[in-house]
Symmetry: C2
Subunit: 421 residues, 2 copies
């Protein structure tokens, strides 16, 4: 039996219909070349990937100045490119010493865990342009300023990709026909009425070798229970008996970066007409990264911005007035789009966002450990507590926070439970 | 109207009766010389302080060796004392530049907030003995390894005492006749039936300039509402409309160190008979700090140990097996007492602990900010959200985490609300 709090399956994948049966995604959407488990699952379920639109030049906007670059341009001048390559090599070296299955066992684990990624980058990388690129790309991965993220966790995260820093954020990325949520929708179809929507779990009791789950009127007793929530979201459940001390500290202190995905739908892809890919970076908080997120048939013209409501990876965080008002956020995104792409971007046909900080049942979007937590509690993230097993992308030793990680976690936990039944 | 979740007032002050009408405290108990607001409130309420028992020699146990020192001995050899004085001076200098009302405005606030206190101490202080003393004393203040605590927050915390590092942990400390909880009990008496026990607040709604509170069957509407909870405990309340983004990030990511206070009650004060004060330090996890916590009339002989269930400030954290079993914790504490004080400590008449990690309605004991959170969300801790005002010791600019801070916060919030009524 699957108990799902929301009125839909899919968790942090979430299709938002636009028209002609097309969707855009309010949550995770991209498959990278090294997402092998995701590719295999999509194939198994008959879900077709398609390449993210990526033809034409890219734009960047820094300090008020828009520049246009050839597709594939790194955004780095020569000295920045040298500094960037050097720091990536250093990150590759350091992360090669960290086993993402057990980062707390690394040499110097305590020392690495006592530092933040942000402070480390400030010390190691003096080139501002290169640092800004890392601030933005890591900031999007963690949904938080790098000054909040454990260096050891960041190294474990990089190691978990099984790819070098140069390959971590690839130029080629794929999306899915039907939207990424279709993977969960298809899986749920196969389960039929064993999936119960709208049943948030309130309480999990263990006694006499069985486990009892209470979820808004439904009560189920079984031999094993899998909790597929971020450790931070486990705070909402009462466990009886109490979970072990270390596990509770992990849950209470684990952090989830909030993230907003804003979509603007236009009557024509004016950027494509101008020879632009739609990809842009800027130092404007609500548009640190922009993509063309149009459906594969090109029947709609869509730009997407990813940003955080709190001071984030870009040079200037949203002001609080903007962060707390949906209208002001819309204005801020569209002003940024205009600053980057020109007046054509001012008036989309439709505009909507998905703000993961405001969504019930998610304490945020992207997981990370603050300093000192991974070495003291990290080994509790996957360890079963009696008959309770832990899934969710946060528990993955491969691409945590990604769809790949969710699948990795699911496969691991299924093997774990099968071995005990 | 005061809505109290527990069946008692007092929060993290908690009297535990022993006998002859005496009590010991499971929570905050000590008044320091610079706790002026606490002293004034005690006087106002007719609660008498008495000096913590502090006659005789002290013991220390490191690497298996017990040494006996004269009362007042710092536990530091000459080179450690020099290193300790130097780092205290450095902490005083740095904290003098941090205003505890607004630490985020300090010069280099971002840089200081990107570091952990633990990593900073490792860099700045090479003397192991001196570092161990700071690890233990700061560790007890934060209830967590210093590798989890923002350096900026630690500096703000030191600044908030209005005392130099040399005075922060004084040799003279006072307790209260009747136990520290008596302060809240007396205040509650004065409020009569306006205090409703056993009413945890589930929901706070704001509309049309008034605020509506739902608490287990009681519903109250008023013009202003004061929430006197740690930001971390505010996670349990549903706020409608949602609180501002920054405030929610603060609540979701604020950290509370768990702490255990264990009391052993003996038939005679064998340590006093041996010319010992009962004060001891050790590198054994469950006895990093031990005090004589006997009642003022000396009618009972009590030793108290303060420790954390998770790997904490002492050299060796509790193993998980010990951390998660009350029986094993008792064994570990008594073994440590025997190692320090000898066989007389083996068999107390009574033994009990108060474990703040296991207590409902408290997410822990001592507050701290992980790196990067204070500069990005700290200004939300006291700022009212509409008709909701924030109290609790965590919000104090003076001695946060202490009884002094709770009173400071209460006085500030009362002035704040009065100005708006």
């Amino acid at each position: 039996m699957v108990l799902e709090a929301r009125d839909r399956v899919g968790g942090r994948t979430f299709n938002q219909p636009i028209s002609n049966g097309n969707v855009v995604e309010g949550g995770g959407e991209w498959m990278y070349p090294y997402h092998q488990k995701l590719a295999a699952l999509a194939e198994e379920l008959g879900v077709e990937p398609f390449a993210q639109y990526n033809e034409g030049d890219r734009l960047s906007l820094y300090r008020g100045e828009v520049t246009r670059h050839a597709n594939g341009y790194s955004g780095l001048d020569e000295s920045a490119a040298v500094a960037f390559a050097a720091i990536c090599e250093r990150l590759d070296e350091l992360s090669a010493q960290v086993d993402p299955e057990a980062p707390w066992l690394a040499d110097n684990a305590a020392e690495l865990d006592a530092q933040t990624l942000g402070a480390w980058l400030s010390n190691e990388l003096s080139n501002d342009v290169a640092r800004n690129v890392l601030n933005v790309s890591f900031g999007l991965q963690f949904g938080a300023p790098l000054e909040r993220v454990s260096l050891l966790y960041a190294l474990s995260y990089v190691a978990s990709f099984g790819a070098s820093m140069a390959e971590v954020v690839p130029t080629e990325r794929w999306r899915f026909h039907g939207g990424s949520q279709i993977l969960s929708l298809r899986l749920a179809e196969g389960l039929g009425d064993r999936v119960r929507l709208g049943h948030p779990v309130q309480r999990i009791t263990q006694a006499d070798g069985s486990v009892h789950v209470e979820a808004s009127g439904v009560e189920i007793t079984g031999r094993r229970c899998i909790v597929a929530l971020s450790p931070a979201d486990c705070r909402r459940i009462d466990f009886d008996p109490l979970l072990p001390s270390r596990r509770r500290t992990l849950q209470d202190c684990f952090q989830m970066g909030p993230q907003i995905k804003a979509h603007a739908i236009y009557d024509r892809p004016f950027w494509r007409e101008a020879g632009l890919s739609g990809f842009a970076r800027s130092d404007l908080a609500p548009a640190s990264v922009v993509f063309d997120n149009s459906p594969p048939d090109g029947s709609e013209a869509v730009l997407i911005a990813l940003f955080q409501p709190n001071p984030g990876p870009s040079a200037y965080g949203l002001t609080e007035e903007v962060a707390d008002s949906e209208d002001r956020r819309r204005e801020a995104v569209l002003e940024a789009f205009v600053a980057i792409f020109g007046e054509d971007a001012a008036s989309p046909q439709r505009f909507f966002e998905h703000n993961w900080q405001d969504v019930e049942y998610s304490s945020g979007c992207q997981p990370f450990y603050p300093p000192g937590l991974l070495t003291t509690t990290g080994d509790a993230i996957r360890r079963p507590c009696g008959a309770i097993h832990w899934a969710s992308t946060e528990t993955a030793a491969r691409c945590p926070g990604w769809m790949e990680g969710a699948i990795d976690a699911a496969q691991r936990v299924v093997a774990e439970v099968e071995a005990r039944l």
